[in-house]
């Protein structure tokens, strides 16, 4: 028993340090590769090979470290024994939209749509307004997935709802079914610069890239990052540490600064809730109410001008229930 444990521990340590090494090395290579292309053409760098050897290589010969995406079948199954959850702390969110930006650049999203959108919310005229970042809720009783006629949008065992844009027929039933206006349609061909950047990627539902005209897309909880053990883009992009992400089975969520807290405790201490609970969609995204905020509340009057919607009334600003 002791031996076994020790063995697995040693193995683990080996693997962990190796993985860390590879990541670091790859990051360094990335930077140096870029620089070498720009200024010094023949630059040497140290590379850590998967079998643990270090050697010096010419930067030009190196390629970016990009593991091939998992197969479609694997992407549909998801990671076993995991249930991903997100917790968003409204008390910490100052509406800076760093999460949106991180997400936009990660997924090459065109500027008109936001997979995670920061709403200015006010439940009623007398209650205080607050910022409300809204990704896809990856509902456990997902109305969007129910209505898809071809199983192009599907729910995985780890709770993530994804879209297979190689199967989607573009009927948009899912868009009208989602009560949270989470889904976006590719009404036209992706723009030329986007094709240039993403066109050669190997498609996987986990990547949501390259996008295709006539199909639907939405927030995917960055499953490719999760597979690498990394937090989704919005979570690590949040400078206010307002977004937590983790595995409900582990009962732990982590935010951008790496603070990991007990999920159940977090909800219990802060009166966590889910948005529009009474719709019964059972979101996997939880919210903590905006109590004791340390930043100015959103200015609902100013927002009216930005809304682009002239006839927008106070009533429409309210979320329902």
């Amino acid at each position: 028993m002791n031996d076994d444990l020790n063995k697995s521990r040693r193995n683990f340590i080996k693997k962990a340090s190796l993985a860390a090494g590879i990541t670091l090395a790859a990051g360094a290579i990335g930077i140096e590769k870029f620089l070498s292309a720009k200024s010094v053409p023949k630059k040497k760098t140290l590379v850590l090979t998967p079998d643990g050897k270090v050697y010096q290589a010419n930067c030009g010969e190196l390629k970016e470290f990009n593991p091939p995406p998992v197969s479609n079948l694997e992407a549909r199954k998801g990671i076993p024994n995991k249930k991903f959850v997100m917790v968003i702390d409204e008390a910490k969110c100052d509406g800076c939209k760093a999460c949106t930006e991180a997400c936009q650049s990660m997924h090459f999203i065109e500027s008109d749509r936001e997979w995670i959108k920061v709403f200015k919310m006010q439940d009623s005229e007398s209650t205080s307004p607050y910022f409300f970042p809204k990704p896809c809720f990856h509902c456990d009783n997902p109305p969007c997935t129910k209505v898809c006629p071809v199983n192009a949008t599907f729910k995985r065992q780890d709770g993530i709802v994804l879209i297979d844009n190689e199967r989607c027929i573009g009927c948009r039933s899912c868009m009208v079914a989602c009560p949270y206006s989470t889904r976006f349609f590719n009404w036209s061909h992706p723009k030329a610069d986007q094709i240039a950047e993403t066109g050669n990627m190997q498609y996987s539902p986990e990547l949501s890239l390259p996008r295709r005209m006539g199909t639907v897309e939405k927030c995917d909880f960055c499953p490719d990052m999760i597979r690498k053990g990394l937090l989704p883009a919005c979570v690590s992009g949040c400078a206010m540490d307002a977004i937590y992400f983790g595995d409900q089975n582990e009962d732990a969520v982590t935010n951008a600064s790496g603070v990991t807290v007990k999920f159940s405790q977090l909800l219990e201490d802060n009166a966590g809730y889910r948005h529009l609970e009474d719709l019964g969609t059972e979101p996997r995204v939880y919210y903590l109410p905006p109590k004791n905020r340390k930043y100015p509340k959103p200015d609902m009057n100013a927002s009216g001008k930005e809304l682009n919607q002239t006839e927008m009334k106070m009533g429409d600003m309210r979320m329902s229930e």
Binding site: V150, C171, S173, S188, G214, N308, M312, S320
Partner: protein, 488 residues
């Protein structure tokens, strides 16, 4: 003691001639009409190719209003397709004699509007090239799948329902088309021969046909109801305010029957005028159909009340925003015009006997049909503009919707397609079920005979009775009754 002047055979011959006449001549006006329709369809096809290449972005639909004119039209066309079932099947089951001259046009309208109604969602698809995915990966949990299943079922059913009573007529066309000089005539002969499936009018054939008709008449009614119920489900199965309603099924069915029967009246009026069928499709038909539309409008009004009054009483948050917008917001003008124009006005006009003239009924039905179309739009679009999440900081065109020229062109082409198919059909096949009208004549004839006989017998009995009472002889002369053809 039947009127000697009345010649049944001759009458039947007249009916046949009247019905087959339009199939013989393709006048100039017909050609121009078909030409216009083809131009419209051609333009629509061009627009569709444009849409296929550039994506649905060429329409006015955007991320909030992701279903627009196409889906509204889909619902509308499917609604119109309920005409055939109601007028034909229900009137058949209830053995309404007056149905005979109008069943064919009703069934045809069903068939055609279903055909084009089914095309609408395909036009609306982002990736029509992946249509086969529906077969490969089809999920039976999706309301859209239910739609596909039930519309296919209804389409097959209504085709059969249209075809069955046509068989003897086609056989008649086949037999009457003796001289085939032009290539077109040869084609027609070939078509008639194929479609008549060897109809010879034997007793067994008649028996089989009648049996099949009875079965179809019964089975088509639940299928039709299921279709529009399921169409409503693609809306009602969502959580959206305005769609999340339990009366949506019956509401859509009632709306469909009401607009569909109005459509049938319009068809009747058109054929009556164009093909000079005034003798068969009479004022009485319009009056009766007007009553039916009146009844259906009342049912529709009742469901309308349920649909809006119940949530309006409660004004639950999200639903409340939508209703505010409908009642006094940006959609209020349209909404109230619709309510007054298509609910109140038809009731007022159709409930007074003077309002049930051919002209008035036709005008009312035009209003109803157009109103029903706009109504689908008002069901689809405002709800999409009132999601649970507020619409904030989006491009301007996301938060408004009005169909643009591409959508209008393609939808117009579909409408033109409906007219084209109806026109071609009416130029190839008789627009009245000849044998059914004949049957009507026969029945009427027999009835008159029976009446004659009965009157005679009663008279003689009376004579005997009187003789018994009075011991006198009474004259047994009875006034002969002129048989009235049902059409008068």
């Amino acid at each position: 003691m039947i009127n000697e002047k009345y010649d049944l055979k001759k009458e039947i011959e007249i009916v046949r001639e009247d019905c087959l006449r339009p199939t013989r001549r393709w006048g100039r006006s017909t050609q121009i009409w078909i030409g216009c329709l083809l131009i419209m369809i051609g333009w629509g096809i061009y627009c569709y190719i444009h849409q296929l290449r550039q994506g649905l972005g060429v329409t006015a639909m955007r991320n909030y209003v992701s279903w627009g004119l196409y889906i509204s039209t889909f619902v509308f066309f499917i609604g119109i397709s309920h005409s055939g079932t109601l007028v034909s099947a229900i009137l058949r089951i209830t053995k309404q004699e007056w149905r005979r001259p109008i069943t064919r046009s009703a069934e045809l309208l069903t068939f055609v509007s279903l055909l084009f109604g089914g095309i609408m969602p395909i036009i609306d698809l982002g990736r029509p090239d992946r249509l086969v995915n529906l077969v490969i990966f089809g999920r039976v949990q999706s309301p859209l799948m239910w739609d596909i299943i039930s519309i296919c079922t209804y389409f097959v059913g209504s085709s059969v329902f249209l075809f069955l009573p046509m068989i003897p007529d086609i056989a008649l066309c086949r037999d009457r088309l003796t001289v085939c000089e032009t290539r077109f005539d040869k084609f027609r002969k070939w078509l008639y021969t194929k479609m008549a499936i060897g109809w010879k009018g034997t007793k067994t054939q008649w028996h089989l046909l009648e049996k099949s008709m009875t079965i179809m008449t019964i089975i088509i009614i639940p299928v039709a109801v299921s279709v529009h119920t399921v169409v409503s489900y693609i809306f009602a199965m969502t959580l959206r305010p305005g769609w999340d309603s339990t009366v949506f099924g019956p509401y859509f069915v009632a709306g469909a029957l009401y607009s569909g029967s109005a459509g049938v009246i319009l068809g009747m009026a058109a054929f009556r005028k164009l093909y000079h069928l005034e003798k068969y499709i009479t004022k009485r038909h319009f009056d009766l159909m007007g009553r039916i539309v009146l009844a259906l409008t009342l049912i529709y009004a009742y469901l309308n009340l349920n649909e809006y009054w119940i949530p309006a009483y409660k004004m639950a948050t999200s639903e409340g925003h939508l209703l505010e917008d409908l009642f006094y917001g940006s959609y209020s003008k349209l909404f109230w015009t619709l309510q007054f124009g298509t609910v109140l006005l038809p009731i007022l006009i159709l409930s007074i006997p003077k309002g049930r003239t051919v002209l008035m009924i036709s005008i009312t039905c035009i209003i109803i049909v157009i109103g029903a179309w706009v109504k689908r739009y008002v069901i689809v679009v405002p709800t999409l503009l009132h999601p649970f999440m507020p619409i904030q900081e989006v491009p301007k065109d996301w938060s408004t919707y009005f169909p643009n020229w591409v959508e209008f062109s393609i939808t117009g082409a579909c409408l033109a397609g409906i007219f084209l198919v109806i026109t071609l059909f009416s130029k190839l096949f008789p627009m009245m079920a000849i044998w059914e009208v004949e049957e009507g004549l026969l029945i009427e004839h027999d009835r008159q005979l029976a009446i004659d006989i009965r009157l005679k017998r009663e008279a003689s009995e009376r004579v005997i009775n009187i003789e018994k009472l009075n011991g006198e002889k009474v004259s047994t002369e009875v006034e002969p009754i002129k048989p009235t053809v049902i059409t008068s």
